[in-house]
Amino acid sequence: MRTIHYDDIVKSVKNMIMHTATNLPEDALKALKKAYEEEKSPVAKKVIEQLLENAEIAKTEKKPLCQDTGLAVFFVKVGQDLRIEGGTLKDAINEGTEQGYKEGYLRASTCDCFTRENLKDKIGYNLPAIIHFDLVEGDKLEIEYAAKGGGSENVSRARVLAPAQGKQGIINFVKEVISEAGPNPCPPIIVGIGIGGTFEKAAISSKHALFREAGSPNPDPELDKFEKEILQELNNLGIGAMGMGGTQTVLAVHIEKNPCHIASLPVSVNVQCHSSRHSHIEL
């Protein structure tokens, strides 16, 4: 049995949040630079140039990349041979979230669904965090974090297709979602697609797909090919950076696939804006 102390988790989560708010990860930067090189529209090119400049300013001046510093989303893998001392893991992640958002001068964006009242004084600063736990072998604790803004969540969709609709049905659905979203989710975007499982499994997979290094090959060759096919179809829509028209709308398509029920084909599309703020730590 290995032991980790509650306070160490709080501290690590806090640091991870503050760092991620002002430092665009390498994969997103690389993808944006490539899009800048390849963009044909001068207007869209100018937008991407601003995004690269923004990333530079955020980093050197330690200023949040975007004012929407998101809800805090975590995927946590807990080794079965690990013991947490001094409190629960969930509390530690929430406390680290609150501290990180407060000390980093990030925005508190959680509110009540009906009254729309900000919950910072009721539940905590930008709390609760959205946490997905998974139990795994070993004695390690792995935490993946993303600051997920509202603009790109608002255009995300899930639908259960009929099995006969197959791959073409999936392509049509994804195209419909991205076409309708247009400029709203701050393109260029990354598109996470969850296929299979149940309704909620597809949705969670589509979110988790966004954590993969942008544009890295899918380990499954069939899915890798499918990702490239969808990417091409989506870029043919011509939406462009910030929707002003252009060739570089989607930086990457990432798919996660699960076995599903014989009667259904669930598909979920989770959109990530260009401000793809995510990070990963292992304790």
Binding site: V47, Q67, D68, P183, C186, L237, I239, G245, G246, H274
Partner: protein, 187 residues
């Protein structure tokens, strides 16, 4: 063809009617921030015939909910939020003198019609460029609804704040036209 202009607020009818979708504009002067909750209150005041916290004539509003400023900074990160949430309020403000809105994302037909009829512009700022855009904001002061936090109305002094004309006073829409130019239809 896109032109570049430098304009100072408040905007006149002459200022806005020379702009076309796709033009780049650098705005200077005073602009006001407002998101959904503040818009709702402004429209309520207009309907009751009461005075607004700032003069609407020629005004420009910026749809933004900034991050809290660090000590010594006028404002935190301050990029645009998605504009459609203001669609049901904007036409009323435009009718009462508003000349410019800054946000990101599509507007509905009522807003575009109001821009045409009463001569107003919908400008797009680059979403997710909050650190960059905040550099053009020299001063910020909460002037109403402090209790709304990031949604309070702030008076901003801006210098060369970079925006692009999305909807002009002639019914043009850059999102539709730009996309048409680069869309590849299947054979």
């Amino acid at each position: 063809m896109s032109n570049t202009y430098h304009l100072t607020t408040p905007l006149s009818e002459e200022d806005v009617t020379k702009l076309k979708a796709g033009d780049i504009v650098y705005l200077s002067g005073t602009i006001y921030t407002a998101r959904d909750a503040a818009h709702k209150r402004l429209v309520d005041l207009i309907e009751k015939g009461e005075e607004l916290p700032f003069p609407l004539e020629g005004a420009v509003v910026y749809f933004v909910g900034p991050t809290p400023p660090k000590p010594g900074e006028p404002i935190g990160s301050a990029g645009p939020t998605t504009s459609y949430r203001m669609d049901s309020y904007s036409p009323i403000l435009i009718k009462h003198g508003l000349k410019g809105m800054i946000g990101k994302g599509k507007r509905n037909q009522e807003v575009k019609d109001a821009c045409k009829e009463y001569k107003a512009i919908y400008f797009g700022a680059t979403g997710g460029a909050g650190a960059l855009l905040s550099k053009a904001i020299k001063k910020a002061e909460v002037i109403a609804y402090e209790e709304l936090g990031p949604e309070a109305i702030r008076k901003l002094e801006v210098e060369n704040f970079p925006v692009t004309v999305i909807n002009d006073t002639y019914g043009n829409d850059l999102y539709e036209e730009g996309r048409k130019l680069y869309e590849k239809k299947e054979d």
